[in-house]
Amino acid sequence: MRRLLLPAIISAVFATAHQYHFAHLDANWNSRAKTLEVTVRLHADDLEQLLRQRAGRSVELDRDPQAEELACAYTLETVAFERTRLRCLGMQVARHSATLFLEAPAEAPPVRARFRSFSAHFADQINTVQLLTDNQRTGATVAFLAADQWKALPR
């Protein structure tokens, strides 16, 4: 069952759709380049509906020339790492998911993160963050529930 707070999004029981709200983020600190490389995976359906709400028009991720710009803007609003200024490099769209690629200069791995994509819209949204250093996982995955703001990242 979807629990939606946005009035413009129609709630429905989908026997086949994803009846859950989940997003994942990998934050890789590249020790050689001294950059933070962030890969954010969002559900394409959720993102399309949300962008339609924000843009006031239909936004098809794989066809709209402005989709990447809109998706980047939203992702930069909802993903943050302490003392880091992210920029969005672009988006890849698959049948069911959209992957956003963000990057920032970083002298060290981040200490705290905020990951609130869809959190203001879905009460059951769960977002997870995995910190990596040079593509090796460091520490456990951190889960962000809808009410969570900044959280420390274990190393």
């Binding site: 029981v13 989908f14 994803h18 098809e60 769209v93 069911h96 593509n135 996982r137 995955t141 889960a143």
Partner: protein, 553 residues
Amino acid sequence: MTGWQHKQFLGTGEFTLEFGDYQVKITVPNDHVVASTGVLQNPSEVLTTTQRQRLEQARTAKKPVLIVTPAEAKAAEKGKPTGKKTWVFHAKNVRDFAFASSRKFIWDAQGHNVGGNSVLAMSFYPNEGNPLWERYSTQAIIHTLNVYSRYTFQYPYPIAISVNGPVGGMEYPMICFNGPRPLEDGTYSLRTKYALIGVVIHEVGHNYFPMVVNSDERQWTWLDEGINSFLQYLAEQEWEPNYPSRRGEPAGIVEYMLSPGHDPIMTNSESVVALGPNAYGKPATALNILRETILGRELFDFSFKEYARRWMFKRPMPADFFRTMEDASGTDLDWFWRGWFYTNEHVDLSLEKLTQYTIDTRNPEIEKPLSKKAKEEAPVTLSAQRNKPLRKRTDDYPELLDFYNKWDEFAPLPSEKKAFETYVKTLEEDEQKLLDPTMNFYAVELKNIGGVVMPVILSIEFGDGSKEEMRIPAEIWRRQSNTVTKLIPTRKEIRSITLDPHLETADADLSNNHWPRKPVKSKFQLFKEERDSKRNPMNESKADAAPPSSGNN
């Protein structure tokens, strides 16, 4: 089976009911078309002569026939009803009943013989559903009946309907409701196309699970949604080459299996947090792995069909599924159900180390030359290199040289040869054969990091460029589920080994699947490389938009 049903309807667990026969009368405005569970009992009262003729024609048609055309549906939209009509439907042996009624419906139908059962496949949709619906809906229904019946049992009902409605997808006996539509301009994206085909397959597929194999979705969502998602994957893969299935491929479930604190599949429907990957994606993947990697297609398909056949019009529980798959395949799968259905562990096998051993034959004729070669191939130290040209005292006084200066320490001594002959006599013939000096023994050390035990699939590349695939059953972990060593005897030298070379086990970390270790590029790196290698899309657009040269008309 459970007596009076005490579970409240909370939404997620959808519904479950017992079987019954239904006779339903539906009175609607007389310009409506009704799609319903069951067989229409009074066509002469509710359909025009033309519609009845078209319906008859559809029963033997090779492609969908329009019973109500787009123009007729559009005309009906503009009109007003002049009275009411009562449609009568009869449905036998169904666990629920549903219908849809609208004056906007286009209606197409095609009869199809499913293993001897004549089924009328039908779609109902408004003009807003076209051109997508007229092209794909009824085709997808028939495709589903063909594929699902092959893997389970003959479709038992006379009707199969797909209706375009306001839900993403929802199933009832003989009828289902599916959402995807084109944009207002009549175009549709690739995602919308596959969303429609996929959802029609899925919802029509629910006729088999749970409409006939009547499991309790209120308790165990996965038992119908997971099995249905698995069959949906099989049907999609028979639709067109490289169909972009959402669920089924092992790599697709890794992210969910890595997520912290996710629920095991064996969790009550109302308690599952992420129902999509938990009850749809993960069981579909697990069954695909069971089919492709654990049992093989022939054994799995036989066992799966046996489960479907045994539990038609009955109420199976998870244990019935597990038990049937085991006794029909003659395979103990306890370890598989435990890892994939009862835990929230993930798959991550690691190829930790490769150690090469050779046999000590004890034969001085073999071992001494080998020792000599090893000594000769050993690196010469820097001091030794620099000391070599220095004039030695024995150059000036050769009388200082004695037996030991001339003695070949690697020449077999008679006593050593005799000792070996004595030793060989103590060995059996089979044991003597093992003293083969050309044999290499490689010890492959494997570690189970994720927790779920899985078969070990190794692709071995040898020094001569040849390759060999080794498939070791999961029972290798039986006595020690954390680390295990596999000994590989071979006459060739191993150059490299890849674990899970066909990505068939949902291994979460591919960076530890190689010996020697190989760097695995991250998604981020691949994206940047791809982006950097692309031409400037703005320039490409300009080039595409440029007018043709004057010579081309």
